[in-house]
């Protein structure tokens, strides 16, 4: 039981490049979330999903896209990377008791 896994762990992007951050959970939870955490700051919700095929915007969705074709996977897509997207990205899933379990994070540097 791996919980929530994220890949890659670290990535450097050039301005304008695109990438997909992968998130997979093996706990069969319907609710999944993507957060970003800038250095020394709190967590900001980017997108979330309440089940396969259903996604919705969070606090800071601009510049990102998500999809949820299966219960297990919730990838986050950056289309045109900008320096302002330099951050640590956390994926999380939520239990029926509302506990959120976080993945280890992806550190992204946009230069």
């Amino acid at each position: 039981n791996a919980g929530v896994t994220q890949t890659p762990k670290f990535r450097i992007l050039k301005i304008g490049q695109s990438m997909t951050l992968q998130c997979t959970q093996d706990m069969n939870h319907n609710y999944m979330y993507w957060y970003r955490q800038d250095p020394g700051m709190g967590l900001k919700l980017i997108y979330y999903s309440v089940g396969a095929g259903i996604t919705d915007k969070g606090e800071v969705p601009n510049g990102y896209n998500v999809s949820r074709s299966t219960t297990e996977d919730f990838p986050l897509r950056l289309e045109l990377a900008a320096p302002s997207q330099t951050s640590v990205y956390f994926c999380a899933c939520r239990t029926s008791q509302e506990t959120q379990y976080f993945g280890p994070g992806t550190r992204l540097l946009v230069l």
Binding site: Y31, Y33, Y35, M41, G42, L43, K44, L45, Y48, V50, G58, E59, F90, R94, Q97, E98, T99, Q100, Y101, F102, G103, P104, G105
Partner: protein, 109 residues
């Protein structure tokens, strides 16, 4: 708007107590508390689902005043392992959890 936490940072000696406050301008249906150690993911501590509910976890407990939209986290007889950044999370009527501004706690020997 995210919940505001106070203090922003606190330094303790081992064995001392601390209180971290969380205040929201929006209605809260639940309050979550998480701890994040440097370079790691946040880890769930506890959730309070009802107004006035108090929960405890070893020497860490919390209360939730639904009328005031406030929650407090109490750490007693602090240990070195308590060091980290504490976040409250406000659960509203939607499925979203909005995290607070964070409180950095440093426990020194």
């Amino acid at each position: 708007q995210q919940p505001v936490q106070s203090p922003q940072a606190v330094i303790l000696r081992e064995g001392e107590d601390a209180v971290i406050n969380c205040s929201s301008s929006k209605a809260l249906y639940s309050v979550h508390w998480y701890r994040q150690k440097h370079g790691e993911a946040p880890v769930f501590l506890m959730i309070l689902l009802k107004g006035g509910e108090q929960k405890g976890h070893e020497k860490i407990s919390a209360s939730f005043n639904e009328k005031k939209q406030q929650s407090s986290l109490y750490l007693t007889a602090s240990q070195l392992s308590y060091s980290g950044t504490y976040f409250c999370g406000g659960g509203g009527a939607t499925n979203k959890l909005i995290f607070g501004t964070g409180t950095l706690l440093a426990v020194q020997p």
